[in-house]
Amino acid sequence: MVILFRIDDRFIHAQVVVGWGRRLKPDRIVLADDLVNAEDWEKELYASAAGPDFKATVLSLAEAAGQIVGGVFDSEKIFLLVRGPAEALEILDMGLETTEINVGGLHFREGREKITENVWVDEGERGVLRDIVKKGITLEARALPGDERVTINSKVV
């Protein structure tokens, strides 16, 4: 069962493991990313970042969607992490159902405009977030669980 579906371009890092992990206590962190999944050293880097308290699994987007929809993780509470809006939409289009996505970290880079302190998007990403909103999904932008809950649906449509 996915208890947190998060867009975060830093993947598995301290905010996710310590910040969210301590609060929601998942059994496993699933990182779904085709680029990370293609490189052994990157898989090892992020799997080790989950630390001793949580299991971590790195999968391709298709594997993650297939396994979650197929019930492989039904007996576990999982965090599902993807790097950006396009990857989130891809997973949704492969059948994963959710009512909410945590847009927790899209950090500043050239060409991105600010939506909140921790969420910056370019025009393409804004368009993809708009497509996600059209599916009836709430986009909320907390970096950490104790932050004020900010919904950004109106800022991407």
């Binding site: 830093r10 993947f11 301290a14 970042a49 500043f108 880079r109």
Partner: protein, 131 residues
């Protein structure tokens, strides 16, 4: 800078790196060939660019990149930024004893030697104080 000293780059969350470096300066006086970058202030691409700029200028004898937390974004970023570059080592869990030792040994030890030494020093400095 001098050609014989190892360069240090401290990459941390928040202002931790700047404050560690400032504190080292308060204790030992002037510090050279050691830089602090904040991943909170700069954004990932800027951090990577800054690391590369420092390496281009200073990598004659070797560089140690210090990050604050194993498993944090700074560590992943620094591994990504320096992977495949000769003469660079990334160390996690930076603390004041490690940095104090770094600035006193950066001119007299080689890269592998100083890295082994600093990790030993860092671990040794975490202990129960009993008298």
């Amino acid at each position: 800078m001098t050609d014989k000293d190892i360069t240090g780059i401290i990459v941390t969350h928040g202002q931790l790196g700047e404050e560690l470096l400032r504190t080292v300066g308060l204790i030992v006086g002037e510090v050279h060939d050691c830089y602090a970058l904040s991943s909170s202030d700069l954004g990932d691409e800027k951090v990577v660019r800054s690391i590369h700029e420092i390496l281009d200028r200073n990598n004659a004898k070797g560089t140690v990149v210090f990050v604050d937390y194993f498993g944090g974004s700074c560590g992943a970023l620094c591994v990504r930024a320096t992977r495949g570059i000769e003469g660079v080592k990334v160390i996690s869990g930076v603390n004041l004893p490690i940095l104090l030792d770094f600035v006193t040994k950066q001119g007299i030890m080689g890269l592998d030697e100083i890295v082994d030494h600093l990790i030993h020093r860092g671990r040794e400095s975490v202990r129960v104080i009993e008298l």
